[in-house]
Amino acid sequence: MKALRSLTVCGMLTVAWLMTAGGVSAHSGAPVRSFDVQVGPYPVTVNYWNEPHAGQPLRFTIVPRGSGPVTLHYQAEAVPGTTVDAVPVRAQMGADPDNHYGVAGEVNLPVTGQWLLNIDATGTHGPGSGDAPILAASPVVMPEWMGWLIGLLPVWAMLGFIVAQARRAGRNILSAQPMGV
């Protein structure tokens, strides 16, 4: 009964973690990177709240700069550089709890290398577009031979099992018995 209760609690915590993992979360402290970007007629500051790492989401905010024209709507996507084998990834956007006119977003960077955060904005002065650079850091690179060593585990395991079972069954099993499986 105790084990069942612990299992239920673990399950609920996992579900809660999965539910919150994909959402746009609030940020605290100072941004790790900031860029002043001209998005058409709209000057904005793009803040990154964590170091961009491949395989991890990048949290960012877009905040209007100065007393320029009012921006009403933003859309953003991460566009891979020419040497990066990837497709554009759309960002999840939401209101920025710390800035009434800003937005907070999160975008997944699936591949190592140079990306651009492409921002489209629409406001009182019409639509505009601008980019902020991203350099997605690579994780520790596993040598290819090690990749194959791990990747072929099921192949070796299967071959071992097949040979062991064949030995156990005996040489004449296919021809000696009148009835098959």
Binding site: M142, I150, A169, V181
Partner: protein, 390 residues
């Protein structure tokens, strides 16, 4: 009840014991059906994923096809674990599970060895997913199909499917004759067809920009090599294990049924998922189902030939196994002549100066070697499956 009469007598069974044995067999059969469906889900999910990669591109780990594939893997793992626990419990209670129909594992569990293989295979496939994600972060989204962790993922599931085949074969092996045996044999052949379909997915690489293999200045086509190895593994195993003419055809028909499910499901799933996510197609998106090339129609012709040969050879008292082995290998090589989707795709898109006939001829020596290796593997697999009882 027919099923009770079909149980092979092993020692002295009481009426109540027979009842439990029958219930055990039924439980395992139902389990095998669920496991087979889980494996088929993974295979169809993989076809969808290959289309997704080519047409849209992988933008995160949990894409819709990945979720379907993971669902299949999770079902394989959880159902095999549940069946192992159930059998262990029954063995402790003396309720029809013993050394005659199961094996002791890790001094704790008592269950058919096939279920353990399925569980391990599913676990390895699940483990391959984060590794694959990591590999993509380094090498990009268009990593070839035969990359380390794609192999681990696919062969993890193939291992799980092999376990299901052992589970079914052991059940069929304990039944002497009758309708129940025939039903289990059909289940076995259907599962063999699903397993064959999963292996054949790797043929997709043969119709891609990596369709040629280079050994120094010597180039060969990948597709016929793999096809010649796979065909005997599936079709010869079918007749050798069940010893019934028609077995290879049932297996081939299952492969074609999986192909049809893919042909119907993949375009529908692509259209709906892409629209639901508001994604755009890549400029290189193919207008056809990519994996259709991996499950070629010619497999039916090869199966019919193998069945006809088996029907002719089975009355022989000796030498039928080596004769069928040689014929099976030759039929596999012959199928590489019938099924040449690579000859239409590679010179048109990737290797513009390629002469398909010359390339096929250059590949022929290795194709024969591949067919022989496939036949040898089919012999080993069949021997183990035919002798499976626990």
């Amino acid at each position: 009840m027919a099923t009770t009469l079909d149980i092979a007598p092993r020692g002295t069974h009481t009426a109540s014991r027979l009842h439990f044995v029958t219930r055990e067999t039924t439980t395992r059969q139902v389990g095998a059906i669920v496991l087979g469906l889980a494996a088929a889900t993974f295979t169809v999910g993989t076809a969808w994923d290959i289309q997704w990669h080519t047409a849209v591109g992988r933008d995160r780990t949990f894409t819709p096809p990945h979720i379907l594939m993971l669902g299949g893997i999770a079902l394989l793992g959880l159902v095999s674990l549940a069946l192992i626990l159930l059998d262990t419990r029954r063995a402790k209670r003396g309720a029809g599970v013993d050394q005659s129909n199961s094996s002791r594992m890790f001094r704790v569990f008592q269950a058919p060895v096939g279920l353990a293989v399925t569980g391990f295979g599913a676990a390895l496939a699940a483990l391959a997913f984060p590794f694959d994600d990591y590999w993509h972060t380094i090498y990009g989204i268009d990593v070839v199909l035969l990359a380390p962790f794609h192999v681990m993922l696919g062969f993890g599931v193939i291992m799980a499917e092999l376990g299901v085949l052992y589970l079914i074969a052991a059940e069929a092996g304990r039944i002497a004759v009758g309708r129940a045996k025939t039903a289990i044999q059909i289940g076995f052949l259907t599962q063999l067809g699903v397993t064959l379909s999963t292996i054949m997915i790797y043929l997709v690489q043969g119709t891609s920009d990596k369709g040629l293999m280079h050994f120094g200045s010597y180039s060969v086509v990948f597709y016929p090599l793999l096809l010649a190895a796979i065909v005997p593994i599936g079709l010869l195993t079918a007749v050798w294990v069940t010893r019934r003419p028609g077995a290879a055809t049932v297996t081939a028909l299952t492969v074609l049924a999986v192909r049809e499910v893919m042909a119907q499901f993949v375009p529908w799933a692509m259209t709906n998922a892409v629209a639901a996510e508001g994604l755009t197609y890549r400029p290189t998106a193919p207008p056809f189902v990519v994996t259709a090339n991996a499950l070629p129609l010619g497999i039916l012709a090869a199966a019919l030939l193998i069945d006809a040969l088996y029907a002719g050879l089975r009355r022989r008292t000796s030498g039928s196994v080596p004769l069928l082995a040689v014929a099976g290998a030759l039929i596999a090589v012959g199928e590489t002549v019938i099924d040449q989707p690579w000859a239409a795709v590679l010179p048109k898109y990737y290797y513009l100066d390629m002469n398909p006939s010359a390339m096929w001829l250059a590949t022929l020596p290795l194709t024969i070697v591949a067919a022989m290796l496939g036949t040898g593997l089919a012999l080993l697999i069949s021997r183990g499956l035919a002798g499976a009882r626990q």
